[in-house]
Structures are given as C-alpha cells and as structure tokens.
C-alpha cells in the first residue's frame, strides 16, 4: 500500500515521500527515533505516524498471518490471491482442462508451433476472451496485441468477436434467467476497441515497445493480457552475435515477467519452431535456443496429429504433461469434433 493513501496530513505525507518512504513496507521496521531524525520532526509526531501506518497495514491483512520479513508475502497469501483470479479461457474445454482452467495471470506462457497451426487464431481468441464480462465469470479486461509478423487480420477478429458475443449472451441468459439487468449489451466493435494493437517491424522497435509497455499499462490499468505474436521473427535475422541476442532476449523476458507480476496480467508469447541439427539429423524444436526456454513459466507446443490440431504442455511448474486436441472454426478456437479420446495424459 502506498504512503500517499494513509490518513495523514499533506505536509506529513510530503515529508515521508521526500525522505524516501513511499511504501508501508519501508515504514514497518523502522523505529520512531530514526524516523524523527530522518524527517526532522519531533519524536511524538513520528510515533503517531508509525501508529497510523501500522493501522493501515493491519486493515490490509484481515487474517492473522503477518509477514515475517517485511515486504514479502507468505505463501498462504499468495495462494489466496491466486484463487481469486479467474483464468482466461481459450474457448476450448479440453485445452482449458489441460491448462488448469485457462491462461493464468501473473505468468508468462509460451506457445509454439509450425506456421498454419493456429497460433494467431489462439491469440485473437484470447484477446477477445479477456474481455468476457465479470458477470459471466471473466476478467472484463482489455488486451494489448503486439504483432511482429503482420498476421493480425481485423476481419477475422470481428468474426470471432461476433461469435463470442452470441456465446456470452446465451451463457448469461442461462446463468441469470430472471434478472434482465445482466444482459450482455456488448457490440463486436466494442470488443475491437478494447484491443490495443501495436505493429512492429524491426527488432529495435520490439525492444523499445517492451520498455514502453510499463508506462502504457500504468496508464491503462485494465489491460489484463499482453500477447506477443511472435517474439522470434525479428530476432532470427539481424543478429550475427548470439551472445548479444541472448542478452537482449533475456532482458526482454525479465521485463515481461515483471510486468505480469506488477500489474497482475497474463503474458502470452508465441514462438516458432525451427529445425535443430543434432548429430546429423534434423529435429524440430522451438526457436531462440535453450537459454530462452528458461524464461517462460509455462510452455505449450501445438502440433499436427494426422488431421487434428493438438496442444501439448511441455513445461509447467504446476500442470502435468498432457495433450489435448482443438480445432479452429469460423467462430474461433473450439473443441475438436473428432470422436477419439481427447485428453491424453503423458
């Protein structure tokens, strides 16, 4: 919690902030005499300020568990917070099941696959699904879509948005049969307006945009998902020096993770597959190398199995390895129509 929100007088607040005490965590372990010396106020006043700060701190944590190290959170607090956050659905029940309910906020999910498998379609579906109204069980947020390849098509987004609005209306009617006030009144063009679309054409633009995202999202607090499609395109050409490329990519990944944690949003990164030459044979693997593969929290690989599109959880700290099939229809991502057993656990 910020010091600026404490019920202190403006001059006291100003003194605290100019002395460098901007958060409650910084005030929680200081003694009144030290504070008095820093702020050049009488000790009684410093004592009063600390009492107000502790009260403010106390109101934030209704349960009895308090942090032992000030500024940190207990795992219990984190678990409670995570349970409160709804996940972003992919509109395909099988895919949601293997993802544990959908794409999680505060995490970086990497999704990779061959061209034509449906990565952009999945990205557009997520950008629309993040806007599911809170009444229907969604996040009601906005999306930032960063397009590096030029594959985002407005007509397709409109098509998916129209199908989604129909779905949400019928769902909310099922849920709230009596109350008319919860009717979904969203138009497909409203959905388009809530997607902030950035098109970048070079690797320097990509780095600059990721640096700028912090400021952008602090101004648009209801952004709940950042989709980057795809992160590899520009980094596969300009760089002869792989060490530099890895450093830049690592820095970018770190910024994205911090962004996710700070503003409580989901980061979805699309990656490409490439052929890796190992011992004379060619194998398919995700691009950008091994050092990049450590940067993401979850990793999903999309692949073809005969005529079906499948998704496979390759790496995740909390989800088990499983694969599920999905299909791309005119309305977006949906369950696969085949009769085979859909979810296979590895």
């Amino acid at each position: 919690m910020e010091v600026g929100r404490l019920p202190l007088s403006a001059s006291q607040r100003g003194k605290l902030i100019s002395a460098g005490y901007t958060t409650l965590a910084s005030l929680s372990s200081i003694s009144p005499s030290d504070l008095a010396r820093d702020l050049k106020v009488p000790e009684s006043e410093a004592f009063e300020m600390l009492k107000v700060a502790k009260l403010g701190c106390g109101l934030e944590q209704p349960d009895k568990h308090t942090a032992i190290v000030n500024g940190a959170q207990t795992a219990w607090d984190i678990l409670n917070e995570e349970k409160l956050l709804p996940r972003i659905t992919t509109s395909c029940a099988d895919l949601d099941k293997i993802l544990g309910g959908g794409i999680n906020c505060k995490e970086v999910t990497e999704i990779g696959g061959v061209p034509g498998i449906g990565k952009t379609q999945l990205g557009i579906q997520l950008a629309v699904n993040v806007q599911i109204p809170v009444d229907c069980g969604g996040l009601g947020g906005k999306a930032v879509y960063i397009d590096t390849e030029g594959s985002f098509m407005v007509e397709r987004t409109l098509q998916i948005a129209e199908a989604s609005v129909v779905n949400w209306s019928s769902y909310s009617e099922l849920l709230w049969k009596e109350s008319q006030a919860c009717r979904v009144e969203i138009q497909p063009t409203d959905i388009l307006e809530k997607i902030y679309y950035f098109r970048i054409c070079t690797s320097t633009e990509q780095i600059a945009l990721i640096n700028y995202l912090d400021q952008f999202i602090s101004e648009h607090k209801d952004v709940k998902i950042v989709i980057i499609d795809s992160v590899t395109f520009h980094f596969r050409q300009d760089f002869e020096d792989f060490a530099l490329r890895n450093r830049l990519l690592g820095g970018m990944a770190l910024k994205l993770m911090n962004l996710g944690k700070k503003y409580n949003l989901a980061v979805v990164i699309f990656n490409q597959v490439t052929t890796k030459c190992t011992e004379g044979s060619f194998q398919l693997s995700l691009a950008l190398g091994d050092s990049w593969s450590h940067c993401c929290t979850n990793r999903v690989i999309l692949y073809w199995n005969g005529d079906e599109r499948n998704a496979y959880i390759d790496k995740s700290p909390s989800l088990r390895s499983a694969s599920a099939s999905f299909s791309v229809t005119s309305g977006g991502i949906r369950n696969s129509a085949s009769k085979h057993k859909r979810i296979r656990v590895m």
């Binding site: 061959v114 030029g150 098509m153 054409c201 490439t274 052929t275 073809w304 199995n305 005969g306």
Partner: protein, 288 residues
Amino acid sequence: MNPSNLLPTQNLTMGCPVLDRCLGGGIPCNSLTELVAESSCGKTQFCLQLTLFAQLPPSHGGLSASSLYLHTEFPFPFRRLRHLSHSFRSSHANLILSNPREDVYVHAVHDAHHLLDIMPKIECFVASRKTRLPVRLIVIDSIAALFRSEFGNNPLDLKRRSFLFFEISGMLKLLARKYSLAVVVMNQVVDFMGEVEGISGMRVGNLSSLRSSGRRVCPALGLAWSRCVNSRLFLFRNEEIVGRENDGLEDDLFRQTRRRLDVVFAPHLPPSSCEFVITKQGVFGVDR
C-alpha cells in the same frame, strides 16, 4: 508509440468473383501472400492479371495503383501481358483510359543479394510520386529462383540462407506496412520424401499433403521461409480422364487438365479450394 487503429484491410481483386470468394475478397494489402505451384500451373498468369486489375478503382475491387513486377526468370512474358491488357481494356473501357501496360513496372533481379541491394531503390520508387498511379502492388517471380543456385545443402549454407529469408521478408513486410502494399511472392515446389502420416513435424497448414501432377510435393525453401509469409496459396494441376472412346482395338482416353487453387494457410481464411481455368482473356474461377 501509440496503438494503431484497427481498420479493415483493403483487398485486391483477382479479377473473378469465384476466386475472390475463395480468397475472402482477394489478395489483402499490408501482408505478404505466397503463391506456390510447380511450373506451368498458371502462377505467372495470376500475377499478370493482378497487375492489371490493380489499376481499377477501389469500388471495383482494385487499388487504383500501378504495380512493380520483379522477375528472376527470363524472359518477361511481354506478349502475354499485351494480350491480357487488350482484353482487360476492352472489358473495362470506361474505367481505364490509358494503356494499362504503362502502369506495370518491370525490373529484373539476379539473386538474393541483388534483391537486398535494390531494396532501398524500391523504397524510393514506391515513396516517390513520379508514377502516374501510386505503386501498391509488388510481385516477385519467383523467390525460389533467387536462392537455388548459390546455397549448398550443408547446415552453414542453410543458416546463411535462412538469415536472408528473414531479412528479405522483413524488408518486404516493412514496405507493405509503411505504404500499404500488397506483396505477392511466387514459389516453386520440390518433391517431398518423407512420412506424412501420424505425428509429423513437417506439416504446414491445412493440407496434409500437397499433390501436383500426381506426385507429392512441398514448397521450396523449407520451413524457415514458411514462417516469413502471411498467407500461402497452392496451385496445382492434375490430369483427369474424362471419357473413353473405344476406337477399334484401342481405347482413346480423353484427358483434361484440372487446375485448382487451395488455401494452405491464411490468418483470415478458412480452408477453401477453388477450381480455375486459364483462357485467352485470363484466369477465371469455375463454380463446380
């Protein structure tokens, strides 16, 4: 940096309503479309037709634009362009007042490095207003020919080649974005040796296998190039036996060439397919 407005993309008509329906309105601007086919399937006919139809006003599906045709395979089909432009002009007499061939600019390209070298010149050409109509269409015929001679099959050469793919397609997409161009690139096919059934990493797009003239093929230049294009269209031809005539001792088989256009992958199109024919007047889709 500001988020850009989501505006509908302009489409360039193919010149035939059946083909346009298959392609969701035509070739989209601001993106790189690839046409894959083996030789003599009709790639060049498609592209020549596009260069003419680009000159129509947007109300008729064109872009009111001139085109830049970069060709690598000699010679450029001037005679065919002349035939097509005659019939084009006569069918659109009220819209086209001058010679349509004056708005098609042709340039020869020898190899990949040459293409990279002339990119700044291309940008100046597109940016300048010296042409009668602004340039909104760039056709490259064909991209495979640029790469096939100087790169061997070892990993080092392939890596060098991949770098060039990303550089060239990056620059083309930058141009497409900056000046709102439609870029059409033609590619050839190679024979495909390998497993297609089961879990395969090599499948790209909607079709599990591409077949042309009875053999299994895949687009040239590999997986790296597949990533560089936004949409891929596959043209193929098959000979079909449509009738038999018993003429004494032998059977005479009537063969007909069937040509089809398939959407392999495109971000805005469902998997669709269309049959077409090539006539003196151009390429036309067939509703069957």
